[in-house]
């Protein structure tokens, strides 16, 4: 499938930003997303190909503007919704609930 993820050869995407002594996870939530990948994979909710495809189906503008682990989060939400495990409404409600409780 040809899509925005197929970046090889594209012009004009700017310089390569390098970071010395880069940590694996820049923020705590990135590590949680990474760990959940194993959990969801281990549970058999989806396989790696479905996961990758869910990223490739992202809106092209959103794909380019969001970070790597945001892509992963997007894929989780898409796949868990499609498999009937967690609906977007359910997730919104839980997020609101946690916000109100002042949790971060």
């Amino acid at each position: 499938m040809n899509g925005i993820h197929d970046l090889g050869g594209m012009h004009g995407l700017g310089p390569i930003d390098q970071e010395a002594n880069e940590p694996y996870f820049h923020e705590e939530w990135e590590g949680r997303v990474f760990g959940m990948f194993f959990a969801n994979f281990a549970q058999g909710h989806f396989n790696v190909d479905q996961f990758r495809h869910a990223i490739e189906r992202m809106d092209p503008a959103e794909y380019l503007q969001s970070s790597y682990y945001e892509h992963w989060l997007h894929a989780f939400e898409t796949l868990l919704h499609e498999k009937g495990i967690i609906s977007p409404d359910e997730l919104d409600r839980k997020q609101a609930e946690l916000s109100q409780a002042g949790d971060s």
């Binding site: 970046l7 700017g14 930003d17 760990g35 989060l73 997730l91």
Partner: protein
């Protein structure tokens, strides 16, 4: 907060164990990283028989040192020489040999690197401060879900007397991706 909500829901449904997530994070942050790949390179520099096995069947030879598993199931090792320099990318996403190099840096997963390195590898190497003579052929390897690449860098001059452990110290992550050369030790 969105991530927290997702983890909480999965946990409430009994689908995710938060302590298992802690374990995965700790494992990658402490045990799995480019020191593994450096050990492979140092062994190949020190032991010609190992090097031959490594280039013949990367997956098996790397597993001899105990490095195998997720995102390293099929490995191919490409050797730099005086006439060939190899660089690895994943244009479609972020495929990378986790057991030997750990998790990829942000630049490896970024649109600028993925788009440009296949079109203008010399320009990209230049951004990384690597200038190669025109006589050196540059080969760019596009990783995929099944097959991952590891670059076997050139052994620097003046290292004949170094032990395998000392050699491993010289080998950097970027030299095994192909965006750096291994520098000779400061004398």
């Amino acid at each position: 907060m969105r991530v927290k909500a997702l983890e909480t829901l999965l946990s409430e449904k009994g689908l995710v164990d938060s302590s298992a997530i802690d374990t995965v994070i700790e494992l990658y942050e402490t045990k799995i990283g480019p020191r593994n790949g450096a050990a492979v390179v140092a062994r190949a520099w020190s032991d010609p028989d190992y090097k031959a096995r490594l280039l013949e069947n990367g997956t098996k030879a790397i597993a001899e040192l105990g490095f195998e598993g997720v995102q390293g199931e099929d490995m191919m090792v490409v050797e730099n020489t005086d006439s060939v320099h190899n660089v690895v990318v994943c244009t479609l996403c972020s495929c990378y040999p986790w057991p030997t190099l750990g998790l990829p840096p942000v630049w490896y997963k970024s649109a600028p690197y993925r788009s440009k390195v296949v079109r203008d590898p010399r320009g990209v190497l230049s951004e990384f401060g690597v200038e190669l003579p025109d006589s050196v052929e540059i080969r760019v390897w596009d990783s995929n879900a099944e097959l991952r690449y590891l670059v076997l860098p050139n052994r620097p001059a003046g290292t004949d007397d170094l032990s395998e452990a000392e050699l491993a110290e010289l080998v950097t992550r970027d030299s095994m991706i192909g965006t750096a050369l291994v520098a000779a030790p400061a004398s």
